[in-house]
């Protein structure tokens, strides 16, 4: 029984052609992702329009006219007298379009080496030193350190370090403005002797030297300080100390620098770019300071707003769910990354959701969806259709994981993360003893840029160790009932990104891949997600979190 699936191709002139029905068509959808690969034998028997690599292709349901799969010809073709000369062409689904364009996506920079010491804006004068060094009070912390020697008071303004611009403006004429929205840092000051010091901290914001006075109270012990910038123009900021603004608070102690050497240290710096809405404009009033990080939907929206013009995403049709409250404390792809890379990384952090690129519209634009799995439609699997994969044994479970990272002092440090049995119910099976500790193999994440980056990767790895994954395969060749609506869905119209209810076990698993074979009108559903190896997690997530060289 052949499924009624029609093939249309767009020729080099832009005209669409419906091909005669050909046998052997197969296509797949994956979640996260969307339309992935397809096999369409362009027989040497068929007179074809003029094709070339990149020509668009779509598969549609002959009974409804619905688009089932869209993509493009991804291999070169050679035609003789209108027919394919030889070889099987290959096809890439709509999701592949997200890999076309790469940018340096740096909405939240936490790398200390992104700061330039001793900016020229306010040159270091009078023997002051700006350097990356150990904090006098804690040799585990390397901070941006400004050291002011005795007698510096009369020398003038002085900058400690500057942050210059976000990378992702390059190549984007439409959205080139990317301004700094907020700065969060940990700050501590002190003096060698017991003298109290009180600095006048200044932020010089923007090339014109617009200045922002920051809090100037003494920061000892260390404290988090924040600043929200109002300008939507400037993408550089300099931290420094201002002579005229009273480097030393004269009301407190006029002679503090006389015979003393004082220091000021800055670390855990978070620079937030002003995020964009879905059409690329800075979100009015956006303020990340209370959260100290980014929300997943903010990143997805900002990505669409940054790239929709370049890769034909339709903001009108894109739907981005805002329910995840996961806080992402560092998001910094200093190496070029594609939208597909970035979304795959985000999905590693937020496994409750998935991204999806729908079949493209007639004008070539596509919708980007960011959806929680739980909102998807549930398919009732026919009895006997589902075969479980061999289950991972509980012996692989673990509830704690130690990882090594490079602390802000450049030293290797260690931290252990624990998984609790409320978040990860599977680990209740580890032992009758609720406090039993089963360690996963330790992770070496010292090559990553910051503690925040390493902790994100380690947390994702621990989540993998703390869950017992289930995966299964279902083969469906009859219409499937959608729970709720009762609609019968034909096998060839099934897509990944929904849930499947298995009658034999009562379980509901995610449908992560659907392969449709048109000749037999059969869909093969991959249910659940096999456990990722630690190497897979680390290689996916640490690719763009590495230290800059």
């Amino acid at each position: 029984m052949r499924a009624p699936v029609g093939v249309s191709v767009q020729d080099v002139a832009g005209d669409w052609h419906r091909l005669p029905d050909v046998g052997g068509v197969q296509f797949s959808t994956v979640a996260p992702g969307g339309c992935s690969e397809a096999t369409i034998p362009l027989s040497t028997q068929v007179l074809l329009p003029e094709l070339q690599q990149g020509c668009r292709v779509r598969l549609t349901d002959g009974t409804t006219g619905q688009k089932l799969w869209t993509g493009r010809l991804s291999s070169p073709v050679r035609q003789v007298r209108g027919a394919l000369a030889s070889g099987e062409p290959s096809f890439e689904g709509q999701a592949g379009y997200l890999g076309d364009r790469t940018i340096r996506y740096t909405p939240l920079v936490t790398r200390q080496d992104a700061w330039w010491l001793g900016s020229t804006m306010k040159p270091i004068v009078g023997g002051a030193q700006a350097q990356s060094g150990q904090l006098p009070t804690n040799d585990h912390v390397t901070a941006l350190m400004l050291t002011l020697p005795n007698g510096w008071l009369r020398a003038g303004d002085c900058s400690l370090a500057s942050f210059h611009g976000f990378y992702d403006g390059d190549g984007f004429a439409s959205h080139s403005s990317s301004s700094i929205r907020a700065l969060i840092a940990t700050h501590q000051e002190g003096a060698k002797s017991a003298n109290k010091s009180k600095f006048q901290v200044f932020l010089w914001h923007g090339s014109t030297g617009g200045t922002v006075s920051w809090s100037s109270s003494a920061k000892s012990p260390a404290a988090r300080v924040t600043h929200l910038f109002d300008s939507t123009v400037f993408d550089d900021v300099t931290i420094g100390y201002q002579y005229n603004g009273a480097l030393v608070d004269t009301s407190a102690d006029k002679t503090v620098l006389d015979g003393d050497e004082i220091w000021s240290g800055w670390w855990n710096l978070q620079v937030f770019r002003h995020l964009r809405d879905i059409t690329g404009n800075p979100i009015p009033g956006w303020n990340p300071i209370g959260r100290g990080g980014l929300l997943p939907h903010e990143i997805v929206t900002d990505l669409v707003g940054s790239m929709w013009l370049d890769i034909a995403i339709n903001p009108d049709r894109s739907v981005i769910d805002t329910t995840s409250s996961a806080i992402i404390t560092s998001y910094d792809f200093a190496d070029r990354a594609s939208m597909a890379d970035i979304l795959a990384d985000l999905n590693s952090l937020v496994p409750t959701h998935f991204w999806w690129v729908g079949p493209c519209e007639d004008d070539g634009s596509m919708a980007l969806l960011w959806q929680p799995w739980s909102q998807g439609r549930t398919l009732l699997m026919p009895p006997g259709a589902v075969t479980y994969d061999e289950a991972a044994s509980d012996g692989d479970l673990a509830n704690q994981l130690t990882f090594a990272y490079t602390d802000s002092g450049g030293e290797t440090a260690y931290e252990t993360l624990f998984a609790d049995r409320w978040t990860y119910p599977d680990i209740a099976r580890l032992s009758w003893d609720a406090y039993a500790q089963v360690e996963a193999p330790p992770l070496d994440l010292t090559s990553l840029s910051s503690y925040a980056a390493a902790a994100q990767v380690a947390q994702a790895a621990l989540a993998e160790y703390a869950t017992s994954p289930k995966s299964a395969t279902a083969t469906v060749s009859v219409p499937v009932v959608a729970k709720g609506s009762g609609a019968m869905l034909q096998p060839w119209a099934l897509t990944a990104g929904c849930m499947a209810h298995i009658p034999e076990t009562g379980e509901t698993l995610r449908v992560t891949k659907v392969d449709v074979d048109v000749d037999t009108a059969t869909a093969t559903l991959t249910l659940g997600t096999p456990r990722r190896t630690t190497q897979e997690i680390v290689s996916t997530m640490s690719r763009h979190r590495k230290k800059a060289n």
């Binding site: 499924a3 339709n314 609609a487």
Partner: protein, 443 residues
């Protein structure tokens, strides 16, 4: 010309003869069909959801040629059969029988001729016997059958003739692609949805596929409205719900669902939410998704607002921002029902935004899987193809089934492309098909 007639021709209409197997008695007969070893083959069956038999059949022909003619004739035949589109084998058994055409497939081997059967029977006047296997479509095509012209409204409403039934009996042994010329007059559309389906001869085809006129429904924000019951109970099976939706706000989008309610606030059946994002303040037929109707339900002739009665509801589950909409029509389109002879075909043609002015004729050439435009540019139907880019064609081409009731429905303007009101015009439709024959018996 000799009988039976066996010629390779390049097309069905106004054909050129490319090769004649049986040119007939001439002053010196050079080639003729042998009566032995003739086999018109049996088709390979490959069932499809649409009830179409795919596959191929192999026709064996034996013919004889005089030695001098053999070389040029054989090489010409070889050249024709290795073309990408070799054409048709036209077969006519007797002068008073109907001709048939087998659509030939390209021969993949370099020389399709079987040389093992070559022989010479006479040293002076050698006669060579050749046997050739021709691979062709499973079914032979009969001569073109023109159906009486039909008038079809563009709106899908029952009172405008939807669905329209093809009343002439369909000739042939298998479903045949139905070719159509729509005379759209001056009404131009960016997208059309053409459905064809076939039901058992005694099945009802009352107009359950549409709704009587109902007052325009206006919705704002997340609202829904009862639109009443259907004029007849549809047969059990799978349907798609389509509605003509008009956005009256200047911008915004909404998630739409349609549901069958029991009158007490319970949705018995509902479609999954569908995102509707018009580009402008304009209306279009929107596919709201599949529903499956069980057997044993009757929800006809109910007052549309009576509580406790089943009725259809259409509405917006969420919209952003608060958008104002109107619903102008509502249809259930069959996909596969209990009385279906085969799956419904749906053909969605989406044109570029430019359309010639004046009267146009839209041709759905199902035989060749093409949709095109004739006329336009202020001219009347002069038969000239104007330079309009072909539309994007999704779905399957319409078919007619012998021995079944064949129905057609045309929904005009099925995507949000312009600023058009609800289409109310109607157009005449000329339809024709080439019957599909299994046997070559005397016709």
């Amino acid at each position: 010309m000799g009988w039976p007639l066996a010629q390779v021709v390049d097309s069905l209409d106004r054909a050129n003869v490319l090769f004649d197997f049986n040119p007939g008695k001439q002053s010196e007969q050079q080639m003729w069909l042998g009566s032995e070893d003739f086999d018109y083959g049996a088709p390979e069956f490959d069932n499809s959801v649409l009830g179409v038999v795919e596959g191929a059949r192999t026709i064996s022909l034996a013919f004889r040629a005089r030695g001098r003619y053999a070389e040029s004739g054989i090489s010409r035949l070889s050249e024709i059969l290795t073309r990408t589109v070799p054409g048709y084998l036209m077969w006519q058994t007797r002068k008073d029988s109907e001709p048939l055409w087998f659509r030939l497939h390209r021969q993949t081997s370099a020389n399709p001729l079987d040389f093992s059967t070559v022989w010479a029977d006479d040293a002076d006047q050698s006669t060579w016997r050749w046997k050739v296997d021709l691979v062709a479509d499973a079914f032979a095509l009969g001569a073109r059958v023109d159906l009486p012209p039909m008038v079809l409204g563009l709106d899908g409403r029952p009172e405008n003739g939807h669905p329209v039934e093809i009343t002439d009996p369909i000739i042939g042994d298998a479903p045949a692609p139905l070719n159509l010329d729509f005379d759209c007059g001056d009404v131009h559309d960016y997208a059309t949805r053409l459905m064809s389906w076939s039901v058992d001869p005694f099945a009802t085809v009352d107009p359950w596929a549409g709704l009587p006129p109902f007052p325009d429904i206006s919705l704002t924000g997340a609202e829904s409205a009862r639109i009443g019951s259907l004029p007849q109970t549809p047969p059990p099976g799978q349907f798609r719900v389509v509605a003509y939706i008009l956005r009256t706000s200047s911008s915004g989008k909404g998630w739409w669902t349609a549901s069958l309610d029991d009158g007490y606030g319970h949705q018995i059946i509902s479609t999954a939410p569908t995102l509707v994002t018009p580009a402008a303040t304009s209306g279009a037929w929107v596919d709201l998704g599949p529903v499956s109707l069980p057997a044993g339900m009757d929800y006809t002739d109910l007052p549309p607002d009576a509580l406790g009665e089943m009725s259809w509801t259409v509405g917006v589950t969420s919209s952003s921002p608060s958008v104002a909409w109107s619903v102008l029509a509502f249809c259930l389109i069959p996909v596969a029902t209990a009385t279906s002879r085969a799956g419904t075909t749906a053909l969605v043609s989406t044109w570029s935004t430019w359309w010639p002015s004046g009267r146009t004729l839209m041709r759905v050439d199902s035989e060749r899987s093409r949709v095109g435009l004739i006329g336009g540019d202020g001219s009347t139907d002069d038969g000239k193809w104007v330079m309009v880019p072909p539309p994007i064609v999704d779905g399957s081409f319409p078919r007619v089934h012998p021995g079944a009731r064949n129905l057609l429905m045309w929904l005009s303007h099925t995507n949000f492309g312009g600023t058009r009101d609800f289409p109310t015009a109607s157009g005449t439709v000329d339809a024709w098909y080439y019957p599909r024959h299994l046997h070559i018996g005397a016709r």
